[in-house]
Symmetry: C2
Subunit: 384 residues, 2 copies
Amino acid sequence: MRIVVLGAGMVGSAIAEDLAQEQGMSVVVVDRSQKVLEKVKAKAAVEGIQANLQDKGIISSIVADSDLVISAVPGFIGFHTLQGVIAAGKDVVDISFFSEEPFLLDELAKSQEVTAVVDCGVAPGLCNIIAGHVFDLLDQTDQYVCYVGGLPLLRQWPFEYKAVFSPLDVLEEYIRPARFVENSKEVVRPALSEIELIDFPEVGTLEAFNTDGLRTLRTTLDIPFMREKTLRYPGHANVVRIFRESGFLSTKPIEVDGQKIKPISVTSKLLFDQWRLKEDEADFTVMQIVMEGQREGKRLRYTYYLLDRYDEETRTTSMARTTGYTCSIVARQIMSGHFKQKGICPPEFIGRVQGCYENLLDEYRKRDIRLIEKIVEHGKGSKE
Amino acid sequence: MRIVVLGAGMVGSAIAEDLAQEQGMSVVVVDRSQKVLEKVKAKAAVEGIQANLQDKGIISSIVADSDLVISAVPGFIGFHTLQGVIAAGKDVVDISFFSEEPFLLDELAKSQEVTAVVDCGVAPGLCNIIAGHVFDLLDQTDQYVCYVGGLPLLRQWPFEYKAVFSPLDVLEEYIRPARFVENSKEVVRPALSEIELIDFPEVGTLEAFNTDGLRTLRTTLDIPFMREKTLRYPGHANVVRIFRESGFLSTKPIEVDGQKIKPISVTSKLLFDQWRLKEDEADFTVMQIVMEGQREGKRLRYTYYLLDRYDEETRTTSMARTTGYTCSIVARQIMSGHFKQKGICPPEFIGRVQGCYENLLDEYRKRDIRLIEKIVEHGKGSKE
């Protein structure tokens, strides 16, 4: 089997390394930067192709002789890249987290008889798979609540945060209103609102606040109450709110010293270095999902808890592990024929296919990713 | 007597109004803006001249037939304006708070036989007068510590601060290292450092932190320990530190979207409206000075406490009252011949002239400015 991985950033390279360990798997990595390619090639038996994926017609030629494509490109070229891969008739797993509506490509994917899994990381990604899995276990699902965050181990004043993406992407999450579902209706809350403090095992107290993270889940599953909140060290949201409310995240140009400039561009530039996860800097990922509903007259609560840490041995960040391995495991499920639905498939579709979730857990275990599942029946006195 | 007031901003207009109430005093106000001039003329019997003081040769012709000049221009043209007035041979009181070294004009002022009082507001200004006054009362002064701040009555998240000057001037105070005197030697501390909480009567808890506010006092009075700290509502300094430490107060241009821009220019622009004291917004001024030393073998502590509020009747800010009235009272002391020292005179020189301090207090009282003085002898069991 031949796999083409588009983009060799932190996550793309983790995916390539993971897939290259498989017998009979030939992995080609494509990136704009030769330096980045050399780094991946030093760690894993992969082929490297230097190319700018924004060049016209390049995607179809690059993916031509592949059995499956992984798109790990930056979000702003994600949609265009996915469209190119689907048009070339290749199955694809996407973790570019582009902001466009993925179902706009559904018709194209179906006509090309292509399986195109989007948002296939940890959140979105793993949380969608869990949502789909539990949704099918229950006769009726009443609630889905997800708390998730990727954090640096070292807390550094004043932001106590490092981004594995560009600060601009993170800042945009802090501006965009958060869309949730309440009583089966969409409700909109400001980003960074409803800050609450929550204790997590082995982690301590974090703060959770509203962000627009539900994505496809808002429309693909019929659950009357759905919410996702982002986790950070306590205090982070308030510091960002100070910047936002003072106009520093504004996208409206202002005139400064005779030049027109977007405040958010200045802010993003200044925060870039401070927010960058440094080489070999340890991070961790924490995610808690609570789903409630009924099965055969019983009220059940499913709780999932993921705590994953930086891998010192392979020097792989937890963000790359949880995002990348979810993607590479799903890629295998497609290649093995385990998941074969055609069209645009958000990961909740995978969770609804018998055995896919269980296989994911098995593969996680091999990679030392711990996901704890707890099922409690209401009124049975069982304590969590 | 004919007085020319250069600059009709918040403070300049308060000075003009105060002087115009005096019998036999003719007041001319000069400003670039006709609108600003009309506003002053509506409130007081003054003459208005519209002029740009940066025009070559204009200062000498404007001050030609005056007995005394007040310079209440913006700081960045303060030094140049003062130089012009001294060159024209006119006594002058300056509250432009320019950043240049005033004694550079000392020789010129002496050769012109001109009295040029600089920094003649509240701090610098009143605090210097007190310092000079107490310095002469004591045989030996050991310590001078001043806490001072001008604050809005209304606390508004996140800065809880309003500036009566341009935000850029305030931000520069938050960058410039603070120079103090310890053991008769200059020590330098970062601005915004050593934040402490202090309770003030009728005000509550404020925070005090280091800023570079001693100005001429560092060199004119031989006191081995001297410090000035700025007062704000608790939390302000930390918010500003977040901006400063993240590079938002940097004067070094960065490249953003292909343009070179100074971060501090963007920050100043964004904060301008948030930090502007709104029309009829109430403010207050609080200042506490503690001086210690010996006289005739006794250890004495002098404490001064000023709390001044916005005047609702005349709609005059406390900042304009305390700064402007100190200036207009000192102007009277010069015109009456009470203070006649030639050359550049920081206000501590006025405090050292018999009767000037007492006259200032009398005039303050008429304007309802309350300065509380307390003298305590050490070891006498007297509690403050």
